[in-house]
């Protein structure tokens, strides 16, 4: 239990450090940083390296945005394994899209409930 929490903290924190280095050292905007990380997660899954990381770190690997690229690639690959090259197109959102769907849903609910502040981001 406790060791899972510690590994989640360390691995999740480490992925955020990579993001911070992109932002500070390479002077990327947050949008560029996030896009790079998503591509990175997707490539890692192509080599079959992201699933072992999830097995090791749990939420430390599933909560950062890299897991978004991973799950898209994973769905595409799983479907391609079954149906060949067409599956690459159809399988992408198959495995998981809870991040997008919940962001849309809570975005609308948030817009409904909350009033505009000077800046919220």
């Amino acid at each position: 239990m406790i060791s899972s929490l510690v590994t989640a903290f360390v691995v999740g924190g480490f992925i955020c450090v990579i993001g911070q280095i992109f932002m500070d050292v390479f002077k990327l905007t947050p949008a560029h940083t996030l896009s790079t990380l998503v591509v990175l997660g997707s490539i890692l899954d192509g080599f079959g390296l992201y699933e072992p990381l999830i097995d090791f770190a749990g939420a430390g690997a599933t909560v950062p945005i890299t897991s978004f690229g991973n799950s898209l690639t994973h769905g595409a690959l799983a479907e391609a394994e079954k149906h060949g090259i067409i599956g690459v197109l159809t399988g992408m959102f198959e495995v998981t899209s809870s991040g997008i769907s919940s962001a849309i849903l809570f975005g609308v609910i948030g817009a409904f409930i909350f009033q505009k502040r000077k800046t919220t981001y």
Partner: protein, 130 residues
Amino acid sequence: MKKSIIVFLMLLLLGACSNEKEKVIFPADNSASLKPIMQKQETIHGYKSVINEENILVAININRFARFNKTKIEEKITKQIEKQFPERQVLVTGDQKIMWEVESIIDKKLKEEDLKKSIEKIKSLSKEET
């Protein structure tokens, strides 16, 4: 204050490492040929297993840094058990959820019908992907 927290954490760590209770096979009389297989695994520090006529269910606690190879370890142990029990269906998993489910079966000491039902439930649970 600070010292007592450190001592407490050390105790937790030590308690987590040496626990013979974590190696259970249920029902115990069936365990003769399963035990030696599990005993020689070096990458795990505990297992809980449930057996009936058709199924063998093993929930394993994989060592922290061996978890990178979770799927490989599961496959390896599954093959070894299948060799020993070719007529039964074997499920080996390092999933914490399955571990809790197996624990609850052992706690309730389920018999025949109930046992079969719970095992089927666990098997369908472990197959889900999304």
